[in-house]
Amino acid sequence: MIELLDVHKTFNQGKPNEYVALRGITLAIASCQATVLKGPSGSGKTTLLSILGGMARPSAGRIILSGREITSLPERFLTDIRRRTFGFIFQQFNLIRGISVLENVMLPAYPCGESHSLLRGRALALLELFGLAGRAATRVEWLSGGEMQRVAIARALINDPAVIVADEPTAHLDTKLSGEFLEFMARLKGEGKTIIMASHDPLVCEAGVVERVVEMRDGRVVAGGGAP
């Protein structure tokens, strides 16, 4: 369970181009559910995702992860928690070009200090699961959009996180691939993972897998907030 208490985010604080992106968000996200943050462009969805996922710090407010306050942890601990708790799927997939599919999937686990061969085995098993076993040695730039998306999901899962965070996951996908993606999310939720997505794609917001839609506007929650 992730709790946000009166979270604010101000960019470029104190400068002429100061911008308040989040204005007091209080939200509790239940475990093992799929939650969607919905709202117009610029409403603060991405900002909120990166703050609740430990990628950025709020300007004010607190974040409590499974009863533990993580807001003021030093970078090393925060990174460690983020790595073990969250798996991120980015809008542009953000795969590293020039290296193999397998290496891309293994990357998030390198700092954990697991034996290279064990890690390799786990990565291969994940690729197998996503029907990419034959592509393990391929460079990512040769992949199709759908394959890239599956590599991105496999990479998000390599550290076996409890929470999957996806920002606009279907923005670059056609209807068929979007459907496929939502099926993967359903499967992961079935395995007990928490899913948090940001999207204004009705296909996502109205998907069967989604239990809760939180609507945002101008850095505030306008519907679906409060306790789950």
Partner: protein
């Protein structure tokens, strides 16, 4: 356990990441190796030359007395030996016979020396490696010489001297005192100079001063003075090399600065992704550190090995213009191989460490940004 495995994984990624940018990293490696090669060549070369000089001087006498006539070195009467021998602190005095001979046939200069202990018989000579090479003489052959009064005499090569250090013995011809006097017309009763053995080396300056007072037409030369002269000659040579070097180093610094400090947009993006998927700033820096280390260590090793081959196996062809004029005798001048680890360590810190720093600093700047930057493409 974790730490080692983690570094192994990071190195693994570093290597595949280096292979990706073959062109950029290949060019960098080539230039880097070239610079190390030049620097190490100069280092090994001057070091080896200095060693040769030290070997020359190891055998040099503590104190030599020359006679000066009209400001020039002249033959010295042997009866000066009595006066010098009477000075307190002088252990022994002996006369030396040596000189230079120009061989018009081969266009080479030889150093003719009468050794202290009689080496060969009358009419026999021992020659250095360089002499043997340039005159194509081997043991048992005869070598013709022009005497001072225009006659042609033949001396037999009884022995070719072993090449312990080429600089010492290369142009050397050892012969008897009788042959020497006959060849150059040096009368009995005079010598080229006198060698003074001193009981206590600390007294050399005092004794030298006494000799100069006692025999006003002589010039005593202490070994330390010869040392200075040699040093001047050698530092002149390394000075030229140093100038070459400074140019190379400068070019490299500009090149390395450009390559290392300018992170491409692609590299920036990658650092962002690594941070976003859970790498700490320290992990990113470790990766950049390994990257710099792989490049600079390979360049260092390759450069040093190439320099070693260049100086000691190929006889430093790149430095030939600097060596020229040394003597016509050294067409195949070969230095005694030696490696000074302290100097290699200095070279290492001069080229490897700055490069490592130059790669880490920009990476550090890129790696300390918040990982969420990557979420907005």
């Amino acid at each position: 356990m974790g730490g080692v495995e983690k570094q192994r994984c990071i190195i693994d990624f570093t290597l595949s990441s280096l292979l990706r940018r073959k062109g950029k990293n290949g060019a960098l490696l080539v230039v880097y190796t070239l610079v190390v090669f030049l620097l190490a060549s100069v280092m090994l070369f001057t070091q080896a030359i200095r060693k040769e000089a030290a070997a020359v001087l190891a055998d040099a006498p503590e104190l030599v007395v020359q006679r000066i006539v009209a400001g020039r070195h002249d033959l010295i009467p042997l009866d000066y030996m009595g006066k010098i021998g009477a000075i307190r602190g002088v252990r022994a005095v002996s006369g030396r016979l040596w000189g230079y001979y120009y061989d018009p046939l081969f266009g080479a200069n030889y150093t003719l020396v009468v050794p202290e202990e009689q080496a060969g018989g009358l009419g026999e000579i021992a020659v250095g490696q360089g002499v043997a090479r340039s005159s194509m003489a081997s043991e048992g052959n005869i070598m013709p010489f022009h005497t001072h009064d225009g006659r042609l005499v033949s001396l037999t090569v009884a022995r070719v001297l072993p090449a312990s250090t080429e600089l010492v013995s290369s142009d050397l011809i050892l012969l008897t005192a009788e042959d020497f006097r006959m060849l150059f017309g040096v009368p009995a009763g005079v010598a080229t100079d006198l060698v003074v053995a001193v009981a206590n080396p600390a007294e050399v300056p005092t004794i030298a001063a006494k000799i100069a007072r006692l025999l006003p037409d002589t010039r005593p030369i202490a070994r330390s003075e010869i040392l200075r002269t040699y040093d001047a000659a050698f530092s002149w040579r390394s000075g030229i090399l140093l100038a070459i070097l400074a140019g190379a180093l400068l070019a490299f610094l500009i090149f390395a600065w450009d390559k290392a400090t300018g992170l491409s947009a692609e590299e920036r993006r990658e650092i962002g992704i690594l941070k976003a998927v859970g790498w700490e700033t320290g992990d990113v820096l470790a990766m950049k550190f390994w990257e710099g280390s792989v490049i600079s260590l390979s360049a260092f090793l390759a450069g040093v090995v190439l320099a070693y081959l260049h100086v000691f196996v190929a006889a430093a062809p790149l430095f030939e213009p600097v060596l020229k004029g040394w003597s016509v005798l050294y067409p195949r001048f070969r230095l005694t191989p030696s490696l000074d680890f302290a100097q290699l360590a200095v070279l290492f810190f001069l080229v490897v460490v700055p490069y490592a720093v130059a790669t880490i600093v920009p990476a550090w700047r890129a790696a300390t940004v918040d990982p969420d930057a990557v979420m907005r493409g």
